[in-house]
Amino acid sequence: MARAEVLYNRALSPYHFLMGLSYTGVRPAPGQFVMLRISSGSDPLLRRPFGVFSLLEDERGQVTGITILYRVVGRGTQIMSEFGEGQAVDLLGPLGNGFPAPKEGERTILVAGGMGLAPLNLMALVYPESKLIFGARDGVEASVIDASKEYGLLPSVVTEDGSEGEKGLVTDLLSSALEGLDPASVVVHSCGPMGMLRAVSALMLEMGVKTYVSLENSMACGLGACLGCAVTCTGNGGEGEYRFVCSDGPVFESTDIDWARIRDGH
């Protein structure tokens, strides 16, 4: 747990913000997340989880801060969007297991949907040779990709309504990206809405491409203690079992997930 301070809190759209937070602990790996306390009182009570979007470093490469990319969806993120510079925020993390590091000779493709961009942006920054595909519903949702472009990343962009980049779905771009590649040489890392992760996983399974997905779930603790963030996994000798997004994930190999038993709603 650390007392962080808001360095900046920049609006990318009316609903999307990039927040810089002072932070000097362990270097977060791509795919790890932090839990922020929104209020010192009891409403909102629980911390909110956010992926690490990028790291802020001093001239010696020491981590001096992190950024998080977030969308206003409810009370907690609404309050966050009103934080000014200098606001003290209690930060717990980095937590969870990130994306596995690419191996020699591996082609890394990152597939982000909407706010799923957050952890994959850090992945793309740490492993610049990876290819970043980004999809969004519409132009407003797509506005977050500017934050990646500012880091010099060159993502391929699709939107469902064609208002930004090509019109289509990330799976379209992913299929084209894989053309001519040996499926066995490729690893896909994906983060975004459950429906998208399901589609990407199904397609990649069909094509024989190893795929990791970063999941979200309601979290009370982020520490593996409340057992709230259970996700149905295959395993346990085929009987199925629950694993935990916060402590076993948030990144899972897509074939470990029991997709049939997951509702897309959450």
Partner: protein
């Protein structure tokens, strides 16, 4: 000033009156990076059943105003793997572990208690009676005084460990429940477990929790918990352990003054994993401020007029 914080919670003395609440602190080890476990009076572990239980589908938790609902479904590794894999950690660092147990029949409660007999590192058993009695058509042990007494008697008969019985607040008369389990021979009484609640997702028009209902915990329930602790402490002779929404030392002191010999910290550990240790130091500061040498002077010191 030397202050004495150790308390006897019914056949076992702990160095201070602060424990973690079952289901909110894992098996202790998960919190080691964030807090000094040795600062705690005891760690109550996640509820244990005879066989491992998978628990409920997700969503399992949802936030509510100053609280949360959970419907974990008592997922746990089972008593055997607990003893083999989880218990050694707490034992080795010297923190008393209290085993929270539950079952769907009196036999199951008894069997879990039997399995724990003679295990080093366990300071006491906490019986969670907020559990559906499958033999009685799902009626909770925790809402029927006779069933509750029977469970306590069954566990007491097979264990040499002190037994703490944890009451459900979902009853008309908590005193009647307390007297029943005291009559059954419990060495202490802990309360409150969660209050049953529901949150509706108005867009999907279904409960947010996959299980429908869940248990409300956190600061929202604190006034109800303090009231029940006060009621129970005024009718039983065994020590009372209070919990429900304790976030800091001052909150814990409300329970102690109302009659609790010790407290448990639950949901607070999710928000600040160091909460329970901070409760210990908060109580100590208060004692120093008011020149109280022995915490026992505070227990039940409430003036009701």
């Amino acid at each position: 000033m030397a202050i004495k914080t150790s308390v006897d919670i019914g056949g076992v003395t702990i160095k201070n009156p602060v424990m973690t609440a079952s289901g909110t602190f894992g098996y202790g080890e998960e919190f080691a990076p964030y807090t000094d476990l040795r600062a705690l009076g005891a760690v109550v572990v996640k509820g244990l059943s005879l066989k491992p239980r998978p628990g409920n589908p997700t969503p399992r938790t949802v936030e509510t105003p100053s609280g949360m609902l959970n419907a974990i479904g008592l997922q746990n590794v089972g008593v055997e793997p607990f003893i083999e894999e989880k218990l050694p950690y707490l034992r080795d660092i010297g923190v008393p572990a209290i085993a929270n147990i539950f079952g769907e029949s009196v036999d199951e409660y008894r069997a879990v208690a039997e399995r724990l007999e003679g295990c080093k590192g366990i300071a006491a058993i906490e019986i969670n009676i907020s559990c559906p009695n499958v033999k009685k058509g799902g009626l909770q042990f925790g809402t029927d005084p006779n069933s509750a007494r029977t469970v306590v008697e069954a566990v007491k008969a097979v264990t040499s460990l002190p037994v703490m019985t944890k009451l459900s607040p979902n009853v008309t008369d908590i005193r009647a429940m307390a007297l029943a389990v005291e009559d059954g021979g419990t060495d202490s009484i802990s309360l409150i477990n969660t209050i049953t609640g529901m949150v509706v997702d108005i867009d999907k028009r279904r409960p947010v929790l996959a299980n429908g209902v869940g248990g409300l915990s956190g600061p929202a329930i604190r006034p109800v918990a303090v009231r029940m602790v006060c009621e129970v402490a005024s009718v039983v002779r065994v020590p009372v352990i209070g919990m429900g929404g304790i976030m800091n030392g001052d909150d814990a002191l409300q329970f102690i003054i109302a009659g609790a010999t010790a407290v448990q910290v639950g949901t607070a550990s999710f928000i600040d994993p160091d909460s329970a240790a901070k409760v210990v130091s908060g109580i100590e500061s208060y004692m120093k401020k008011y020149n109280i040498e022995d915490i026992n002077e505070l227990v039940g010191s409430i003036k009701l007029d």
